[in-house]
């Protein structure tokens, strides 16, 4: 079954086509979401929403781009939205904690730091550190970097997905790497673990 037939099937609500689409692309969608949200459960939940959106809006698909491009676009947008909403929730929590006298996150992190010797960084700590650094990248840098590093896409493919020029992709990824390196360097110098 080629892409055209697959989309045709989905547009007609054919369940077999749904299943083929999901089984073909689930790894790709979950992995893309994971690259942005860093949590496997959230990534799977998001991927489910991505496929539901595809089924619901299949009629709008005009076939001028590949199915994967379409999926990548929805996956990155939805993941970034989740991050944005989580940030908002944390903002509310901070306000609540300010008024209820709850502990704030900053103090928790610094407490964790002093518990651990600097030499033996576990993989868990290393990934928390990397995720914190990735979280601080602006949305476009983060999207381009994720597609390049997690999905190993070429700059040309990323340009098509993000609907930006090849030169912009290059500059987004270059800046993402620079920023990431800077954030990790700060961590390294302060021995932040």
């Amino acid at each position: 079954m080629d892409e055209y037939q697959l989309i045709n099937g989905i547009q007609q609500g054919d369940r077999k086509s749904y299943q083929i689409l999901v089984e073909t692309y689930q790894r790709m969608v979950v992995n893309t979401c994971l690259g942005i949200v860093h949590n496997r459960e959230d990534a799977e939940d998001l991927a489910q929403d991505v496929f539901l959106e595809i089924f619901r809006t299949a009629d709008n698909f005009r076939g001028d781009s590949k199915i994967s491009t379409w999926l990548y676009r929805i996956a990155t947008n939805r993941s970034l939205n989740l991050i944005r909403n989580n940030k908002r929730k944390r903002f509310f929590q901070t306000i609540e904690e300010t008024f209820t006298g709850g502990r704030n996150r900053a103090s928790e992190i610094s407490e964790n730091r002093s518990d651990q010797p600097d030499q033996n960084i576990t993989d868990e700590q290393r990934s928390a550190l990397l995720h914190r650094a990735l979280d601080r990248l602006p949305a476009k840098q983060r999207t381009a970097f994720t597609l390049n590093k997690y999905e190993e896409l070429s700059y040309l493919q990323i340009a098509e997905i993000m609907e930006i020029s090849l030169a912009s992709v290059e500059s987004q990824i270059y800046r993402a790497k620079k920023n990431l390196q800077q954030l990790l360097l700060e961590c390294y110098k302060k021995k932040c673990v």
């Binding site: 994971l34 496929f51 539901l52 903002f91 993989d123 990934s127 790497k177 390196q181 990790l184």
Partner: protein, 140 residues
């Protein structure tokens, strides 16, 4: 080359994106510099996390779960209206609050309590502005 410029290039060194000339300079510096070697290792191990965590095994029940959700009736259209109604309601509350606060403030001024009343209104407004705004942005 000094540490600072080496530190700026290491991520590109790892990704093999440096010109030959720069690459040689970095390697030469790394040979003699313990600190830069240590940061290089730190960076490499950090980036290695991506290689380790990417492409996780997707739950075998992924499609089963999805098809269960497909059976459920569509709620999206309705929830959008609920969202709009909520936003409208909270905007109304906010406006009512500000109006009420201003009225209270004006009344208080006639009781010669003008100063404290004004400052508390300002504080409340500052504090309310962010969350309600975010809330509205979120729903629309």
């Amino acid at each position: 080359m000094n540490h600072k410029s080496i530190h700026k290039d290491l991520i590109f060194y790892i990704d093999n994106e440096l010109s030959l000339e720069k690459r040689i300079a970095v390697e030469k510096h790394l040979e003699d510099c313990e600190d830069c070697r240590s940061f290089l290792a730190f960076l490499q191990e950090g980036l290695m996390i991506i290689e380790k965590e990417k492409n996780p095994t997707v739950s075998p029940f992924f499609y089963t779960r999805l098809s269960a959700r497909l059976e459920k009736p569509e709620h999206q259209g309705q929830s959008q209206w609920v969202g709009l109604a909520q936003s409208a309601f909270f905007s109304f509350l906010l406006i009512l609050g500000i109006y009420g606060g201003l009225r209270l403030g004006n009344n208080a001024s006639s009781l010669k309590l003008y100063q404290p009343a004004t400052s508390s209104i300002l504080m409340l407004n500052d504090f309310e502005a962010e969350p309600i705004e975010s809330f509205l942005l979120d729903k629309l």
